[in-house]
């Protein structure tokens, strides 16, 4: 069975709110997930990502809009008629059933013959690395093992699509990194379309083919991890994907190759991709902490500043540097070799002439 995609068309969902009356959890969201693609819905809590996922699953009914799985309109179907695999944040294993019976549940509901069931269950348990766990009960398993059972239970029914609702957020940090690699590998191996919900941008960047960033019930930007990082469309995306300095500056020259912006007393060249900023206009630059280079004060040109704080993290050191009235974040990689600046030290900041992005929305 080759993979099929998912399409949602201007889907909205309202909820009753105790104080505000009625609020939109999701407002007119449209989204296309390509066959065999892993798309992540990324956003802070309350942004509507889980509600969107639950509408794809059929746990919530949209107030308006349509949901398609493949070419089938599933908007009116209950979750049990959609043939999806859903993996929950808290695993949602059946506490009274053994690992075997948990995984076999969906097959038993389909009334498959006993022989097929036991074959399919052992195959899928082998796939997730849980052979020999058949007779254990959920409360005897570790968090990672429970999540593997949940995954096995979801994929054994050969669902058309896989939906993940923050599946790793209850695991500790190391296991989380390991499991996300396994999840991704499994999704590729099964050649299945997947929608993945998380609030962790690193997880999203690690696992996804494409990311849709959600904010206040709407999708604010879609693209690959690299797209979003390099060309954030808004301050929100710039701040949410990675860390960033958002610097206001005035356009001092504009030409066909790009524009020059006066920022903190220095002229920075920016490749202007279609923003058409005019001379004298105020624009915002997305300056990532790692592109700024710090040098000692006496190294000539550059913007002078003072180190305000320093956090040593091993592979990098993070500084806060005061430049005039602004406080800039600067990350310096390989600090052990390159040396650390003490707090209070006067330094110069050097911006690259390429690769700095203009925020496309006007004022942000």
């Amino acid at each position: 069975m080759s993979a099929i995609g998912i399409r949602i068309e201007s889907v909205s969902k309202r909820f009753a709110h105790r104080v505000k009356g009625e609020v939109y959890a999701v407002r007119s969201v449209s989204l296309t997930v390509q066959p065999a693609e892993l798309l992540t819905l990324l956003g802070p809590s309350g942004c509507g990502k889980t509600t969107t996922l639950r509408m794809i699953a059929g746990f919530e009914q949209p107030d308006s809009g349509r949901v398609f799985i493949g070419e089938q309109d599933v908007t009116g179907l209950m979750a049990n008629q959609r043939n999806i695999g859903f993996v929950f944040q808290n695993y949602a294993l059946f506490p009274h059933l053994s690992v075997f019976e948990n995984v076999a549940y969906g097959l038993r509901v389909q009334r498959q013959p006993e022989g097929d069931i036991s074959r399919a269950v052992s195959d899928v348990l082998a796939l997730v690395g849980l052979q020999g766990y058949e007779r254990q009960f959920p409360n005897q398993l570790s968090g990672g093992e429970q999540q593997r059972v949940a995954l096995a239970r979801a994929i054994v029914i050969r669902p058309r699509v896989l939906l993940f609702d923050e599946p790793l957020s209850n695991l500790d940090a190391k296991l989380r990194v390991h499991m996300r690699g396994e999840l991704r590998e499994l999704q590729k191996r099964l050649d299945i379309t997947a929608v993945y919900v998380t609030h962790d941008q690193e997880e999203a960047m690690a696992i996804s083919d494409r990311i849709a960033v959600m904010h206040h019930g709407a999708i604010v930007q879609e693209g690959t991890a690299e797209d979003l990082y390099r060309r954030p469309a808004s301050e929100f995306v710039a701040q949410f994907i990675g860390r960033t300095n958002l610097l206001a500056g005035r356009v001092v020259s504009a030409g066909p190759g790009g524009i020059e912006v006066d920022v903190v007393g220095q002229r920075i060249r920016v490749s202007d991709e279609g923003t058409r900023a005019g001379l004298g206009q105020t624009v915002h630059l997305v300056v990532r902490p790692e592109v700024i280079e710090l040098r000692p004060e006496d190294s000539g040109a550059g913007v002078p500043g003072t180190i305000v704080s320093r956090t040593f993290l091993g592979e990098k050191a993070e500084y806060e540097v005061r430049v005039g009235t602004d406080l800039l974040q600067v990350a310096s990689y390989n600090p052990v070799q390159r040396g650390l600046f003490p707090v209070g030290q006067r330094v110069t900041l050097h911006f690259p002439t390429e690769g700095i992005q203009l925020l496309s929305e006007g004022s942000a």
Binding site: R14, A16, F59, V109
Partner: protein
Amino acid sequence: MGGPAGRFLIRRSPCFLEASFVIGIAAMRANSWRRTLRDPALFATVVTLWALLALFILFPLANLLARTFIEGGHFTLANLGAILRDANHRQAFWNSLLLAALVGLCGTILGFLYAFTAVRANLSRAWITVLDAASLLLLISPPFTSAIAMIFSFGARGLITYHLLGIKGFTVYGLHSTLFSETFTYFPIAYLTLKPILHGIDPNVEDMAFSLGSSRWRVFRTVTLPLTIPGLANAFLLLFAASLADFATPLILAGNSFPVLPTQAYLQITGLFDLKGGAVLSFVLLVPALAVYLLQRFWVSRRYYVTITGKVGAQTAIKSVAPWARAPLLCACLLVAGVILYFYALLFYASVVVALGANHAWTWQHYRVIFTEGLKAIHDTLIIGGAGMPLGGLYGILLGYLVAKKIFPGRQAMEIVSMINYALPGTIVGIAYLIAFNDPPLVLTGTALIIVACYVFRYSPTGIRATVALLQQIDPSIEEASESLGASSGTTFRRITLPLILPAFFAGLGVVFIRSMTAISATIFLVSINWTLITVRILENMTELSLGPAAAFSVLVVIIVFVVIILISGLLRRFRAAGAVEMTSILGG
């Protein structure tokens, strides 16, 4: 005891005030209708349950009100006026309130003494077990066990008054002994209400007061007691309601000089064959009963402070009771426990001697009597209890599941309606059933069904609440997981939810069975030549002064109930061991 129904009312009512919100509610209503109609199993269950609730709760109650207020198709207050003009009835009304208030007061004090001693006096586990056992004994017995023991002790030929003290002409009948007997019968309710509250007061809070230089008495007065006041009010109201509803104790002990409403209503119907008078009297009883219930449920029970201290801090030795005060407190409690044990020992003794107070020769005669001419009552009771048990258990978890988990129109109304027969005094329920099912369209009088239905709809709320409590511990995603794996809501309920709420099922059916064995106030109106009950036979024996068989019957009931409780606790333990969810008590609520 604050159930979800009340919480919903309180939580949601401010929303209704917002005009803009009304549209949203309407939209959601439409949505919930849509959802309900799309899920045939849910729809069918909701419709069936509403039909049952309407038939066995609303219809009888409506009949009772109609009988009271409608005469020849018109609304009238004449019936009510006629009853209230009768001085005897007015006296019964005030007597009922007086008795209930006194029982509330005495029972709460006794319950507090018990709870305070158990929680705060640093007793060993063994002593606490003794206190618990004594109060449990009362909770599971027929409510008039202590009344019978009172007659044995203080009656005309009473063991204590006549034989021990040689008093002749002592009248056991009246307020004093009814009060005494009801206080003993119902104080365990106060004990069970107050114990967790006292337990929930973090000893560190008291330590704090000690560290500020307070004396023990001052800490008790200014910290412990104020924190317990909502619990005391709650216990008082629960006891007030229990006494107001109690029928058997006053029937045995109150006598002619102290009429109360439930007995008046009973006599009006069985003695004077005046159904209408009985209906009106039970309406008069309904008003204070409902007021107390609403007060308890929606006001007092949400005024607990206990949780505010949050997590109980480091274990600290409890210092609330001075060493010299421990012994008197324990003695007082043991005295109470001693009286209870004495009651039961006396009951047993009376069942194995020829005639208590006259001929103390050993005999099995009374047991022979109850297993020959009384066999029908035993047989009927077991059949009725046995039939009510699975029905009540099923009804309890179905309704509990629906109101806790599903969104459908009229959900809150369903929960509230399901509690009505539980909240009302049994006399009212019994008379309402009698009126409703005596004439066409539905004649059930004289059948076992009417008794079974009465028990199921009156005593299942325990199961409903246990189900709701259990379901609140089960994450909704577990059912969604089942749904996403292709299971219909019916399959999900059968294979996932049902096994997880099985403890509530056992608790629910256990309570229905136990109450079928011990209750009398409602079903005394519903028994017939065809179907009778042990409790009714006990009462008949008491009035015929054949005390031996009455005692033997009572002992039998206590034994049956004990066996059932042990079986159910065993089942509960087994299912807890299987790893699902914990279930605290089968007697809660």
